[in-house]
C-alpha cells in the first residue's frame, strides 16, 4: 500500500509534481501513466525518499520510506537500469545490495535464476545490453521478496520475449497479493498489464480509475461508411441526431452518435446502397492522448493531432 497526500515537488521555479494524492492498493498492478515529463519518475523518487517533497507526504505501508527498518524486505524498486557501477560483476552487484539488508547469498542465486541471468552472472555490468540491464534491475528489486514493487518503465529496451516476461512477472507479483506500481508512457502496454490506472500530466493527477472503466468511458465509437449516395446518407444521419464528418474520399463519411446497426437500418429504410459499413473504436492510445493533450510537456510543432 502506497499513499500520497498533497505531494508537491518544486525544482527552482519548475513544479514537477503538483498536489498529488493517490493510493496504490495491493493485489493488483497499478499503471502509472503519463507523457514524458509528466512527473512519474519524480513521484517515484519521492516515494523512495531519494528526493524530499516540497509539501505533502507519502508513505509505504504506513511509514515514510526513510523510516523503514528493512527497506528491501518491504519495497523493491527499479528506477534506472543503468544506476549501477559498470565495473562490477552482476552477481557482486546483487551481493552488495543483498548484504546491506542482511539477505543471504542463496537469494542472490534465486533472483539471478528468476531473471534468467545465471549465464551472465560473472560478466561486468557495463557490457550488458539495455535489456539485460533491465533484468538485472528487476532481479535487484526482487531480492528482498518485498510486498511493494515499484518499476519505472520496466519494458524499456526489452525485446518481445523480455516484454512478455515482464508482463507475466508483474501479473504474477500482483496475483501473490503484492502492491505493484509500474510507470509507462504507453497506454497500450498498460492496457495489457495493469488493473488500475493513475494518469498524470504536468504533475497533476488526471485520472484514478480502473483500466476497464477507462476503456469504457474513453472509447469514442464511430462508424465508417462508404456509399455512392454518401451525401444523402449524411443528411439522413444528421436528421437522426448524429454528427457526420467527411472521410478520406468523396464517397466516405465518418458518423458518430449512431452505432453501425442504426446506420444500416437508416440506409435500408431510404434505399441507400452501402459498400462499406465499419464500426470504429478509438484506440486506447488515442483516448489517452485525448486525455493528456493539454498536459504534454513538449508538443511537436504542427502536430497533426
Amino acid at each position: 500500500m502506497i499513499e500520497a497526500r498533497g505531494l508537491v515537488k518544486r525544482y527552482g521555479s519548475t513544479v514537477a509534481v503538483n498536489e498529488l494524492s493517490f493510493s496504490v492498493r495491493p493485489g493488483m498492478v497499478t499503471g502509472f501513466l503519463g507523457p514524458n515529463g509528466a512527473g512519474k519518475t519524480t513521484t517515484m523518487r519521492l516515494i523512495l525518499g531519494l528526493d524530499a517533497p516540497t509539501q505533502g507526504s507519502v508513505t509505504v505501508g504506513g511509514r515514510s520510506y526513510r523510516d523503514l527498518p528493512a527497506p528491501m524486505r518491504e519495497v523493491g524498486a527499479l528506477l534506472d537500469a543503468k544506476a549501477l557501477h559498470g565495473g562490477r560483476r552482476a552477481r557482486d552487484h546483487l551481493l552488495c545490495l543483498a548484504h546491506s539488508n542482511g539477505i543471504g547469498r542463496g537469494r542472490v542465486e534465486e533472483v539471478l535464476r528468476i531473471a534468467g541471468l545465471e549465464g551472465v552472472a560473472r560478466r561486468r555490468a557495463k557490457g550488458f545490453s539495455l535489456g539485460m540491464g533491465q533484468r538485472l534491475g528487476i532481479a535487484a528489486a526482487l531480492l528482498g521478496d518485498p510486498a511493494v514493487l515499484i518499476f519505472d518503465e520496466p519494458v524499456n529496451g526489452l525485446d518481445p520475449d523480455g516484454i512478455h516476461w515482464v508482463r507475466t512477472l508483474l501479473r504474477t507479483l500482483a496475483a501473490e497479493g503484492r502492491t505493484v506500481l509500474v510507470s509507462s508512457h504507453l497506454m497500450s502496454e498498460m492496457a495489457l498489464t495493469a488493473d488500475h490506472l493513475l494518469v498524470i500530466g504536468k504533475g497533476r493527477l488526471i485520472a484514478d480509475t480502473s483500466v476497464e472503466e477507462f476503456v469504457r468511458s474513453s472509447s469514442r465509437q464511430s462508424v465508417h461508411v462508404r456509399s455512392p449516395q454518401a451525401a444523402d446518407l449524411a443528411a439522413r444521419c444528421r436528421e437522426a441526431g448524429a454528427t457526420v464528418q467527411a472521410g478520406t474520399g468523396p464517397d466516405v463519411i465518418e458518423i458518430t452518435g449512431l452505432d453501425s446497426a442504426e446506420v444500416g437500418r437508416l440506409a435500408a429504410a431510404h434505399g441507400i446502397t452501402l459498400s462499406e459499413l465499419i464500426p470504429v473504436r478509438a484506440s486506447l492510445e488515442e483516448a489517452f492522448m485525448e486525455l493528456t493533450r493539454d498536459s504534454v510537456e513538449y508538443q511537436a510543432a504542427g502536430a497533426t493531432r
Binding site: 528506477l79 512477472l169 504474477t172
Partner: protein, 276 residues
C-alpha cells in the same frame, strides 16, 4: 524465465525478516570495495610506490651522505628517508577514497544504494569505516616494509634507525594512522563534491598545490600556514625529528583529525539533506 517461483523457497524466510543493521551495511560496503578493479590497482600502486620509491630514495640518499654538509648531516632523518615514498603513494589512497563514493554518483549507483539503505548516514559511516580500515592495514604494512627495506639499504652508508630508537616505532605506525585519516578526508571530499574530477582536484590541491603555494609566502605568513596546514600537521605523526615551524607529532595529528571531522560533518549534513 517464468514468472513462477518469485517468492523464497525456504519456509523460514519470514522468520529471517529482521531490521537492517549497521553491520549489514558494513558488509555491503566491504563487498562493494572488493568487487571493483580500481581498489586492487590503487592499493597496488600504494604498496609499490611506498616501498619502491622509499627504497630508491633511501639508497640514493645514503650514498650521498658522505658528501653532505655538517648541517645536512645534523638533520639526517633515516626514518623520514625510508618513508619518503609514502608522500607520493598517498595520492593513490586519496584518489581511491574519492572514487569509492563519487563513482557512485557518476554511475548512478548512489540512487540504488540510497534506496536499499535510506538512512544515508549509515552508508557514509560504513563506507568510511571500511575504507579507512583497509587503508590503515595496507598503509601501515607498506610503511613498515618500506622502513625495514629502507634501513637495510641505508645501513653501512649512513646512520640508520631501528624500531627501538626513541620515536621511531611511533613514526612507523603513524604512517598507517595518517593514511587512515587521509582516507576519511577523501571519502568526505567525494561526498561533498560528488563529481570525481572535482573531488580529486580538491584533494591534489590540499595535499600538494596549496602547501606548495604557501612556500612562496613571506615567512611571517608561511610559518603558521606550514605549521597548521592539516595534512602537513598530520604528517608530523610520521616524523622522528620535527622540522622547524611544525607541531609535535600528536598535536599535529590532532589538528588533522579536527579538520577531517569538520569536513566530515559538512559532508554528512549535505548528504542527508540534498536530493540524490
Amino acid at each position: 524465465m517464468t514468472g513462477a517461483a518469485i517468492t523464497r523457497t525456504s519456509p523460514d524466510y519470514r522468520a529471517a525478516f529482521r531490521p537492517s543493521t549497521f553491520g549489514d551495511v558494513l558488509r555491503s560496503e566491504w563487498t562493494k570495495l572488493r568487487s571493483v578493479r580500481s581498489t586492487f590497482w590503487a592499493l597496488t600502486v600504494t604498496v609499490v610506490l611506498g616501498i619502491g620509491l622509499g627504497a630508491l630514495i633511501s639508497a640514493v640518499s645514503a650514498h650521498g651522505y658522505a658528501r653532505f654538509s655538517p648541517s645536512e648531516k645534523l638533520s639526517w632523518d633515516p626514518t623520514g628517508v625510508s618513508g619518503a615514498g609514502m608522500y607520493i603513494a598517498q595520492l593513490a589512497i586519496a584518489v581511491l577514497g574519492v572514487l569509492c563514493i563519487s563513482s557512485e554518483y557518476s554511475s548512478g549507483m548512489i540512487r540504488t544504494s540510497l534506496i536499499v539503505v535510506p538512512k544515508r548516514g549509515r552508508i557514509l559511516a560504513a563506507k568510511s569505516l571500511v575504507f579507512a580500515a583497509v587503508t590503515f592495514v595496507v598503509g601501515g604494512v607498506t610503511n613498515f616494509v618500506a622502513f625495514i627495506v629502507g634501513q637495510a639499504l641505508i645501513a653501512g652508508h649512513a646512520p640508520h634507525a631501528a624500531l627501538g630508537d626513541p620515536g621511531v616505532a611511533r613514526a612507523v605506525a603513524g604512517g598507517g594512522l595518517y593514511l587512515a585519516a587521509l582516507a576519511l578526508l577523501s571519502v568526505a571530499a567525494g561526498t561533498l563534491l560528488r563529481r570525481p574530477a572535482a573531488a580529486i582536484a580538491a584533494m591534489v590541491a590540499v595535499l600538494f598545490v596549496l602547501p606548495g603555494i604557501a612556500q612562496a609566502l613571506p615567512d611571517s605568513w608561511r610559518n603558521p600556514v606550514t605549521e597548521f596546514w592539516p595534512t602537513q600537521a598530520g604528517a608530523q605523526i610520521t616524523s622522528v625529528h620535527p622540522a622547524a615551524h611544525s607541531l609535535q607529532p600528536w598535536p599535529g595529528f590532532g589538528v588533522m583529525c579536527l579538520f577531517v571531522a569538520i569536513v566530515y560533518a559538512i559532508a554528512w549534513t549535505l548528504l542527508d539533506r540534498r536530493d540524490a
